[in-house]
Symmetry: C2
DNA sequence: GTGAAAGCGCTAACAA
DNA sequence: TTGTTAGCGCTTTCAC
């Protein structure tokens, strides 16, 4: 492995100074066409590649950003990442992926690394912990844009959000409009604004439909795969089980679908199911799933846009941090139907065995 | 935004030389415990963070690797990335994600960037083009490990593969064992070793079952979502349509599932379906999908392991490049069944209208 | 054990 | 228009 070729080698080869080479390569300052030519020729012959660490050291800028998410295996984050990657590339930024798995310790570890690497900015769906580290990153001069979740301890960071309250409301209202009166919700953790918002929307829709809030119907689960099977069982075992379930993200929806099938519960015959997040498989299941779709790529694009803006105008007023809010959309498919006149157990109790749908 | 604190500041604060600080922080060379103490105190007080570009420049090493894939939105790559991320972190490496979307031009662009960034290594599911750039990367001293696909032009690169021939064979043999005699295949592009291998396995299984090869039954499609709908239609429209279809990756399987449902074809009643790749939704569809599962996380882990080994022993003999080959596994679910005695169109022709399954 | 100093590869004053 | 040079922040000889 031969010694790597530097700007000095190029200068020698082209018979000019290294400053001239730098100028020629960066289109900065004055360079005659002749020199430009000679330099590019030398570059080609020598296979010269500028050394990014050296530029980074000199320029105090890396053209690299960090993307902090929970789990790339979750289609939501995968699509977000896809949007971020392509947008970032367009602006000349490249991304270091940090999957913290909803674990504050891992988030902290990644944050430390991203700071040492002096990434220009960080796009983050954060746990909400590590407030101190986030502050430190910002103080270091790293621009932070929060995506999907706001965090209270960073009121001054830009943020790109989905209107989760509306999403939760629309999902629930769709169900009440179908005639459901007992709607179960598998809610994500209230430590996240997404969990909070969607649950809040659920409450609001019930209220608007003059329906009582039954605490038994709200099941707290984590935003992870297979984390809520017992939540489904719990709902199913209720004295008066719900006639519909609202799964507040795609992993939870997967779980719900799985558990309902395993228990032999007919959807939407016995129970209707609505899910937050549209994902490719939602139209492949039988029945296909009615969902609240998020404009995920847009979320990513806006986030990058926001970040790039901060990067290019380093001293825009921070003060409040800008907020961009996107709208979710109800996509009706097959998994929701009007409820049976009465919950099936009620019917059984009143009229004896009843042929299951 | 105040000037960032450097090793010099720490030295001043601790009342020692910068060399001592460096030694203390890196556990290298001799440092008295007292100095060590003072340094760490100063670091804490000043919130000092080593500047990675500076270390990188000095050390000619970045602790960063590139991961080149097609599309993070494909669950296969998402899981691969997840495996790579966690393995890499364990070894102290962080990853820049490059999604080239099966496009050689994008791959080239990313490759150039990764070279300029002087990543220590690259893990790649490559297009197979850009041979020259890959060579250049290796010459630059960047260790390259190929994952999932081998590329002919880089015989000296380490490679971590799945036995695609076996996978293709097992899928097809399972179908022939069920009694299928006309099996359609939606094959990926032969420019990839995965496409090649799976098709080769298909041929081999047919041969072993003494079944003829009918070119009409092999449909070439790209490894992309919804790229093969017309391929399904083509198979369906055949004078003697297949009684089973082998979809050679998860995106193609998604497409097949989608198209068959849209056309009202019963699975596995009229047509059996088997897919390469196990994905979370494969057990949620109705019927659930019989698949050939790849040990994807393992693939990622091995790849990182391989790379780290090269990184830690820079002058291991290159010569041939090591190959690790993993085994696929057949997971039987509900989407395959014995065929109808004769293709339904034959029956119709012979016996008039026939009640569809 | 500790510190002074050279230098990693690059950019941008500044001088010519 | 071009070249010389001083760092960017760090590690590591090499004297002491």
């Amino acid at each position: 492995m031969k010694k790597s070729v530097t700007i000095r080698d190029v200068a020698l080869r082209a018979g000019v100074s290294i400053a001239a080479v730098s100028r020629a390569l960066n289109q900065s300052g004055y360079v005659s066409n002749e020199i430009k030519q000679r330099v590019h020729e030398a570059v080609r012959e020598l296979h010269y590649r500028p050394h990014d660490s050296a530029r980074g050291l000199k320029l105090q800028r890396t053209n690299t950003i960090g993307l902090v998410i929970a789990d790339i295996t979750n289609p939501f984050y995968a699509e977000l990442a896809a949007g971020v990657l392509s947008s970032a590339k367009k602006w000349g930024y490249y991304v270091i992926l940090a999957a913290m798995d909803e674990d504050p310790a891992q988030e902290a570890e990644y944050l430390n690394v991203l700071m040492e690497k002096r990434v220009d900015g960080i796009l983050a769906v954060a746990t909400g912990q590590n407030a101190h580290l986030w502050r430190e990153a910002i103080d270091l001069g790293i621009k932070v844009v929060l995506v999907d979740r706001k965090i209270a301890s960073l009121p001054d960071a830009d943020v790109v959000l989905l209107d989760n309250v509306k999403g939760g409301y629309d999902a629930t209202a769709y169900l009440t409009a179908l005639g459901h009166r007992r709607i179960g919700i598998m809610s994500g953790p209230l430590s996240t604004t997404t969990g909070q918002g969607r649950l809040q929307g659920y409450y609001k829709a019930l209220e608007d439909a003059s329906l009582p809030i039954d605490p038994e119907l709200v099941q707290m689960v984590s935003f992870k795969r297979k984390s809520g099977i017992q939540a489904v069982d719990h709902l199913l075992a209720l004295r008066k089980p719900p006639t519909a379930i609202f799964a507040t993200n795609n992993l939870i929806g997967e779980t719900a679908m799985f558990a309902l099938r395993a228990r032999g519960v007919s959807v939407p015959g016995t129970i209707s199911l609505i899910m937050f997040d549209d994902v490719p498989w939602a139209s492949l299941t039988m029945p296909s799933l009615t969902v609240i779709a998020q404009p995920i790529s847009l979320l990513g694009n806006h986030a990058v846009e926001q970040l790039v803006q901060r990067l290019q105008h380093p001293d825009l007023p921070i003060s409040e941090g800008r907020t961009i809010m996107l709208e979710p959309e109800l996509i009706v498919r097959e998994s929701c139907a009007p409820p049976l006149p009465l919950p099936i157990t009620e019917i059984e109790r009143q009229a004896g065995p009843y042929p299951s749908s």
